[in-house]
């Protein structure tokens, strides 16, 4: 049973390996000229002002929450899509009903300016 996932596991391993190799090769053969300034956080070439970790506005959070909500909606679409033919029109209408509240939520957040970056 587990062997079904062998291909995915191999791909993940190879990806990780390639990344590790790239880093290792770079550090082995690349030129090294350490300088204190190179270790500073990058701020478009300027000398950084203050700590690099500042508080960000709440709208990022709003976007993240809305993203999660629609993400959960999409997760429910997946099994439906797989069993689409078996479920037929019944499944279709069930999905439509499922989407009505979410559609209302979408209209609501659109009208309220939840999708705008003020």
């Amino acid at each position: 049973m587990l062997l079904e996932y062998a291909a995915i596991a191999t791909m993940i391993l190879v990806t990780a390996l390639v990344a590790v190799i790239a880093v290792v090769l770079g550090s082995l053969f690349g030129p090294k000229r350490p300088h204190a300034r190179k270790l500073l956080p990058y701020e478009s070439g300027m000398t950084p002002i203050g700590p690099g970790t500042r508080r960000v506005p709440v709208r990022f959070y709003l976007i993240a929450v809305l993203f999660i909500l629609f993400d959960i909606e999409i997760i429910f679409f997946l099994p439906w899509a797989i069993a689409f033919r078996e479920l037929g029109w019944y499944g279709f209408w069930a999905m439509v009903v499922f989407n009505i509240p979410i559609l209302i939520g979408f209209i609501y957040e659109w009208k309220k300016g939840g999708l705008e970056w003020e």
């Binding site: 999660i68 429910f76 099994p79 439906w80 069993a83 009903v97 009505i100």
Partner: protein, 171 residues
């Protein structure tokens, strides 16, 4: 030992270690990263339990979306690192409770209380997402629809609490 058993123990160690790392790390971002690894190892547990759909949801929703939210919240609060050393005295009570729970669990296993625990129909039902879809759309149709309403309420909450009412220029 079968391959699955070996995999289970390796994952179990990773899952517990990352969970501890998340709790004990003094930097919120490190905690979040530990949590990602923890989520992924739990997702592989689901695969071992023959539930690929749940595994996929775990990765897409938890390791993906919820982690993004966590990072935003960390940046929002702006409290990335806790100052000072870990205060072990604070941990005494949680630790005592955790050990108590562990002893209870071990006790239950020794007593074999769990011998007739129902673990669902093994094999086919969970492993096949189309069968799961059929259950979702028949037996669990009502909970499925209620979930949509819950999502709507959560959406309202997110907007209400993060967006001020526009002052009088409204249509």
């Amino acid at each position: 030992m079968s391959l699955e058993l070996i995999l289970f123990f390796v994952l179990a160690i990773i899952a517990i270690a990352t969970a501890l790392g998340m709790l004990l790390s003094r930097s919120a971002v490190y905690s979040a990263l530990y949590l990602v690894v923890n989520f992924v190892s739990v997702a592989i547990f689901y695969l071992l339990l023959d539930a690929p759909f749940i595994a996929l949801s775990q990765i897409a929703v938890y390791a993906g979306a919820i982690m993004v939210l966590f990072l935003f919240v960390i940046m929002l609060i702006g409290l990335e690192t806790l100052g000072g050393e870990l205060n072990w005295r604070q941990l005494v009570w949680p630790l005592a409770m955790g050990i108590l729970l562990l002893v209870q669990g071990v006790f239950l296993v020794i007593q074999r209380v769990g011998r007739d625990v129902y673990i669902g129909q093994t094999g086919t039902q969970l492993s096949d997402p189309s069968l799961m879809a059929r259950v979702l759309f028949t037996d669990y149709l009502l909970p499925f629809q209620v979930t949509a309403v819950l999502l709507l309420v959560a959406m309202i909450g997110a907007i209400v609490l993060s967006k001020r009412e526009k002052s009088n220029q409204e249509a």
